[in-house]
């Protein structure tokens, strides 16, 4: 570890959270990215070859085998909460297989099977900070850099955009304009998600959208133009359908400007 967060390995050992055998331990999340605040959790990943047996762990879900992910949590002396995820190395292998070039022809089903914890793992891997056994982490970073991850994530979001767009159009046709407005907001979120992913910025949580947007700085839709849409600046309560149409037109334009992998079809 580079010392930015103190003696992480020692802290984990004091809480009995370092297994006798492991492949790597590293930190990810907003604090490592530099976006965190005093309330942010500190996210740690422990890569193991044997499943963690623990009565204190909460179990998160992944679309992998096994489908469970033990997560230990504690509060450090400084009051910060730590979340420690225990990933089997075979789960990481399965996750990487989901974004191999071979899966691009059936990209949408493959991407749909990815759950939040998996997306977060992939997102955090690129900037993860080593705590112990750095070699494993560096090798995995090199490996993921050679995979079509951004296209996969962009297509995953575009697929969701299609679904919500269809819903908006159906709601407009049925004169259910209020529902159309709310659904259009979801569609916009996925369009922007796809846009940011195509620029290498993706993540499972919308809470960092503004940060991700600024980091990606896409020319296809400036931050200010997105912010105006997101904050519904042009929304007219007397004609809400106009805002909905503006949003969907923007979403469609974004979809046409995001270049995805040539193996992929709609």
């Amino acid at each position: 570890m580079d010392g930015r967060f103190g003696d992480c390995l020692g802290e984990l050992e004091r809480h009995g959270l370092v297994p006798s055998s492991y492949e790597s331990i590293f930190a990810g999340g907003s604090l490592v990215r530099g976006w965190g605040n005093e309330r942010s959790d500190f996210d740690v990943y422990v890569i193991v070859t044997e499943p963690r047996e623990s009565e204190s762990a909460q179990i998160d879900s992944v679309a992998l085998h096994p489908d469970s992910l033990p997560v230990e949590s504690f509060y450090a002396d400084d009051g910060r909460r730590w979340d420690v995820e225990y990933w089997l190395e075979t789960q990481v292998d399965q996750l990487f297989a989901k974004i191999s070039p071979d899966t691009l022809t059936s990209i949408q089903p493959a991407a749909k099977r990815m759950m939040d914890a998996e997306v977060a793992f992939l997102e955090r891997l690129s900037y993860a900070a080593p705590i112990a056994k750095e070699e494993w982490l560096e090798e995995r970073k090199r490996e993921v850099a050679g995979l079509p991850l951004t296209s996969m994530m962009a297509l995953r979001a575009l697929h969701m955009l299609d679904i919500y767009t269809e819903d908006v159009v159906g709601q407009l046709k049925a004169d259910d304009v209020r529902s159309a407005v709310l659904t259009a907001k979801i569609a916009l979120r996925y369009a922007v998600d796809a846009l940011l992913a195509s620029h290498g910025e993706f993540g499972e949580s919308p809470k960092w959208f503004a940060r991700r947007y600024l980091a990606a700085d896409p020319t296809e839709l400036s931050f200010d133009d997105w912010w105006a849409l997101e904050t519904m600046r042009s929304y007219d309560p007397a004609a809400p359908e106009r805002w909905v149409e503006e949003v969907l037109t923007t979403c469609q334009r974004i979809a046409s400007e995001i270049s995805v992998a040539p193996e992929v079809t709609v």
């Binding site: 575009l158 299609d162 767009t165 269809e166 908006v168 159009v169 149409e245 969907l248 037109t249 469609q252 979809a255 046409s256 400007e257 995001i258 270049s259 995805v260 992998a261 040539p262 992929v264 079809t265 709609v266």
Partner: protein
């Protein structure tokens, strides 16, 4: 289709840019647009007439206005048949 007809892209038309090639999909088929078809598709905005689109196409690709306008109308026939556009005044 009359030259003063105004096409608009359907909001639920699915679009992908696959390595620079534009694919558009309606409920039935996926169409792979040629470069000139994509040029027209990107300018369909519910405001421009077929004639205006033909004029822009003619200027961009240095072809006769009449030929370009016919090409636009032909493309719109295909897009209309696939529920990818609505046309006002056609």
């Amino acid at each position: 289709m009359r030259p003063d007809a105004v096409p608009a892209r359907r909001l639920d038309a699915r679009v992908r840019n696959v390595g620079g090639t534009i694919l558009v999909a309606g409920p039935r088929e996926v169409l792979e647009l040629t470069e000139t078809a994509a040029f027209v598709w990107n300018r369909i905005d519910g405001q421009r007439t077929i004639e205006a689109l033909g004029r822009e196409l003619a200027n961009e690709y240095d072809v006769e206005l009449e030929t370009a306008t016919e090409d636009v109308a032909e493309l719109l026939d295909e897009l209309l048949a696939n529920d990818l556009v609505d046309v006002r005044g056609g």
